[in-house]
Symmetry: C2
Subunit: 635 residues, 2 copies
């Protein structure tokens, strides 16, 4: 066993690999870093901030690709199987960061490492094979060009170990598509912010891990007690069975009910054919079994089969983001065609959210006569034309014709075509997810301030969907905070759940537990950390770690050029009220919420930059000094 | 096909059998009766009221046992498979009435009948075999004395048709246990009000039915449209999956949360070991598959397996009432022992609710030293002593020793022992279900006024569990109506859902659809009736039918001796506030709610008797005259 008794919950080691020099280093995890950032996302941003200088080209050898796991991973804690991947994003030019479940994270730990830092660039395609503390570089020339499924199967065959866990990239990443992802065992992507392209830029096709280690727990009895309590809370949660059976696809009907669907590029917030493309329909007609991440008790992933003569296929998923993205967002009412498109997107190795934006953006232009067949290379981009979509997906991944125009993201596409800027739905160059923030205002604020752009998983203030004012009053002193159309209290709400997200991403726990089921608060996390690592930690100290991570990410982004004016949303959401559905008449009152958010965060309201006082309180003195040196400290 | 074109939705015939004379009559269903009472429960109470004179001994040949189905049954309408059984109750001396699902009801219709009326008494044990319009009396001497399972299997073997549907009674009924039921295919009982004893008193062990007919639908296209709409509403209902997976057992954790469990005979409204005996635990550990009633899309019944060396067993169910009854109510924390006890109760053929009351009542007396081992025949009736419970179940069914004292119900037991009156939890001699009305006030009012005693299924105002004041405001003009601890508006709430219950029991639809999911209102029922039967009917006319049934049941009960003072609850619920849990401090403010209820109903507030005006409005002129003749009309 590689673990040292010193660091309960951790392997105590991390792996640094330079692909330019083929140098490997096994290093001791620094106690100080663990106390400040826990692991996973927190530890990753710290590495990125300290090790990757300002202004580095994200696709150059100077960028670093960092895989990190937290102390909870591999302990058997329910829903504790998450991995965090971090680099400078080639898509947004700021923080690139994505979090993924499955079985890779615990396997990495059992193989002996809490973190892998990939540096440099190999001169030929390679893949990395890590087994029980030993890392090996293997030739991947034969794998280069393969789709996700083919490459996955080829590596499994080559290694011959059925328990091997693989992270890999597909053709889209190899072609440096800016929204290409890293896929884990075929259908679980770390998809957002273009980390696949970073991996491809290093000529690294895959990482395979396998280990027989285990994670030592400091206080097993306390840990068992917490696990038992959490299990009962999960099993008796009113959403347990819908979550288990439909996963996130259950959201589609709910989103239709409250009028926040992204129908036809955010012009149709509800649709009469919702049931036909719903998670309910999937569960009743297509799903055949469930699949869980490591040690999960809410097996929310689903294996489905489409039975169609000569076109039958089997797949895993989809999540709500993919489902809504390949149905309502692009005007498609055919569930089976959507499933087929999602399979193709996964197999090519792309982020389905960004894909759905670039395509629906082009479709809106096309429907308004602002884009024509000559420009699209003959593709009739009518709403729901899935034959055109299937062709376009390949063209994007292989950067052919009109596909190449879309392959760098929606804002670059608008620049290339010289049009469509006002309907390019992104924040900080990251395309927007499948929820209309006019009907879900906390989410809207979350998109505007998130450290990676228009994404829900940085704050996920799911609780506002409860529409229960008592919760808001209790948690934030503001009843409106937990009303989805409320405004007051949203700054506090989003800041709180950003901290929680940062913490769970750093501990290695799933957001379904902490945000969606609302089961992990600072107090429970403190106990959990104590049980696993043996650290004595108070709920307030836990909160401070969450805040520290959020502040460091912010400062990283500020250093790379993010300004107050980038904390915004596309104009449609700020100015055009929703025309139909249960949120009709609403725009998003961003400015008010933003001011409250900065206030809650202790950030300068004019610049959105953390204040000296806040950074001192978070014990980020060197960061404060660096900011000062760069002339970026504004108050 | 036996159906006549004249009566869409009905077979148009009913069967009258006199077991004293062995006379069979096949009669035409009267159009007038159908228009006034629809079918099922409505048609049954009309027969009972008009055909069984006042004061008849329920166990004499003069009582009639009536099986009725409604027009929706057998059409394929979702959750439309209910059968209603009616007689004068030997347990309560008033209306005996119970409703059951499964596959018997549609089979009866396919065999050619909407109703069977059993009269007289056979001079030896017989069973009835009905096949495609032909009825046959068969000897049941060999079956008499058999348990439910054994008799069921023997009859299936004898008939040899795998699609046969069987209603049958067990040893408890044969011994005239006052809370014995009629069981349908082993585990689905029409259990309340002692109808098993009525069947036994006629020397009728079973009824087996089989048919190849079908139900003709008046407007198939309209019907299809309604079915499609209802299906989507059901499939996308937020409680769909919990209902499908846990059935009613999901209630246990919820009841614990809101502090309304009947723990230790209604002294412990919450318990720390709830999860160990919960529906969640059952689903996660014991259930192996689901089973649906005919044409149901929420297959809420479950097959479970207890794997225990040399004591393994397989069973179906249980429902919440059985689960809570054999766990918290009697102080038992062992789920497997509870399942075993429930299997025994079913196999002996008893009503688990009444059983749980008589046993927990005896246990409360025992725990207080008011009942001793000499009186119980040596049984140590300590809370949770399941060895004693298993023995006592047999003793009740076979009327041995202390079991015989309990076999006539809790109030008769108190009379026999001369003690325990104040904690005999019944209304109108029917034992109370597993919900403490102090924390669920609409249910409490429902128990007090129900036409069969302390039971939830006559009104099932499930919506008050929503605790959503907007619903109450919208539906009844009173926000408190849909708050479980509210008082104002409960009279309207209960009257409304009583009407709905009467209607669904008469149409043959499941209460899960109409009450619990709240999917069928008067408007939808009117359309459904039109589609199936071709009748033109308005929502108001539908409401009137519901009211008519409730009023006729009331008048039947008044004729048999029910008075205003019987519309009450045991004193513990009126005077002792709950001591713990989420409903702590509450008693039930019955009088206020009762006054509102009578007012809503248009009944005399001093006597609880329908007024002449109300009876005229319901077109119950002959009933009004009869009431007048008997001197029972008070205003």
């Amino acid at each position: 066993m590689l673990n040292s008794n010193r660091m309960y919950g951790y392997t105590g080691r991390f792996l640094r690999i330079n692909l330019s020099t083929m140098e490997f280093k096994i290093l001791e995890l620094e106690d100080k870093m663990v106390r400040a950032y826990l692991g996973g996302r927190g530890l990753n941003i710290a590495r990125l901030y300290y090790e990757v200088p300002k202004g580095v080209d994200p696709l150059s050898p100077d960028n670093k690709l960092i895989f990190g796991v937290g102390p909870i991973v591999g302990t058997g804690f329910p829903l504790g199987a998450r991995l965090n991947v971090t680099a400078k994003s080639p898509q947004t030019g700021i923080l690139g960061d994505s979090n993924v479940g499955g079985h890779f994270a615990p396997e990495l730990k059992y193989a002996g490492f809490d973190q892998i830092i990939i540096e440099g660039r190999s001169n030929k395609p390679v893949y990395l094979y890590i087994q029980d503390g030993v890392a090996e570089i293997r030739d991947a020339s034969g794998l280069w060009g393969m789709t996700i499924t083919k490459a996955y199967e080829a590596i499994r065959r080559e290694i011959g170990d059925p328990r091997i866990q693989i992270a890999l990239i597909g053709p889209a990443a190899e072609n440096l598509v800016k929204f290409s992802g890293i896929f884990f065992n075929k259908s679980r992507p770390a998809a957002r912010t273009g980390l696949g392209a970073v991996m491809a830029s290093k000529n690294l096709k895959a990482i395979a891990v396998r280990g027989d280690g285990y994670v030592e727990i400091a206080k097993p009895e306390l840990f068992e007690k917490i696990v038992e309590e959490v299990e009962i809370e999960v099993y008796t949660h009113e959403q347990y069975w819908p979550r288990r059976i439909m996963g996130t696809t259950r959201i589609l009907m709910a989103a239709n009910r409250i009028g926040i669907l992204p129908g036809k590029h955010f012009t149709e917030p509800e649709t009469p054919y919702a049931f036909e493309i719903s998670g309910e329909k999937l569960a009743l007609k297509y799903n055949v079994k469930n699949r869980a991440c490591f040690s999960c008790i809410v097996p929310c992933s689903r294996i489905f089969i489409v039975k169609k003569i000569s076109e039958a296929f089997i797949g895993e998923g989809p999540e709500y983001e993919a489902l809504a993205g390949m149905t309502v967002r692009i005007g498609n009412r055919n569930l089976e065609k959507a499933l087929k498109a999602i399979e193709a997107i996964n197999n090519l190795g792309m982020d389905v959210i960004s894909v759905s934006e670039v395509i629906s953006w082009a479709m809106e232009l096309y429907s308004k006569g602002l884009l024509n067949k000559e420009e699209t290379g003959g593709l009739k981009l009518e709403w729901g034309n899935m034959e055109a979509v299937m062709k376009l997906l390949e063209d994007i991944a292989y950067r052919r014709g009109f596909g190449d125009i879309l392959a760098d993201g929606v804002i670059v596409a608008a620049e290339k075509l010289g049009k469509g800027f006002e309907i390019a739905f992104h924040v900080k160059k990251l395309e927007m997810i499948q929820a209309d923030p006019r009907g879900l205002k906390g989410y809207g604020l979350g998109f505007a301030v998130s450290s990676r752009g228009a994404d829900h998983l940085r704050s996920e203030p799911f609780i506002e969907l409860s529409d229960n004012p008592e919760l808001g009053l209790k948690m934030f002193g503001e009843p409106e905070a937990t009303l989805r159309l409320g405004v007051k209290g949203k700054g506090k709400l989003v800041a709180y759940y950003e901290n929680i997200c940062a913490l769970v991403d750093s501990l290695g726990v799933c957001k379904n537990l902490a945000e969606n089921m609302n089961i992990l608060d600072y107090g429970k996390m403190a106990k959990l950390i104590e049980a696993v690592t043996g650290m004595n930690i108070t709920p307030i100290e836990v909160e401070v770690i969450g805040e520290r991570i959020i502040n460091l990410e912010r400062i990283y982004n500020v250093r790379e050029g993010v300004k107050r004016e980038h904390d915004t949303l596309p104009e449609r959401f700020l100015k055009e009220p929703l025309k139909r559905g249960a949120s009709a008449g609403h725009v998003i009152e961003l400015e008010k919420m933003l001011m409250e958010y900065y206030d809650t965060r202790g950030w300068d309201k004019n610049t959105g930059i953390p204040t000296a006082e806040k950074l001192k309180a978070l014990n980020l003195i060197d960061v404060l000094e660096d900011l000062q040196r760069r002339g970026l400290l504004t108050s």
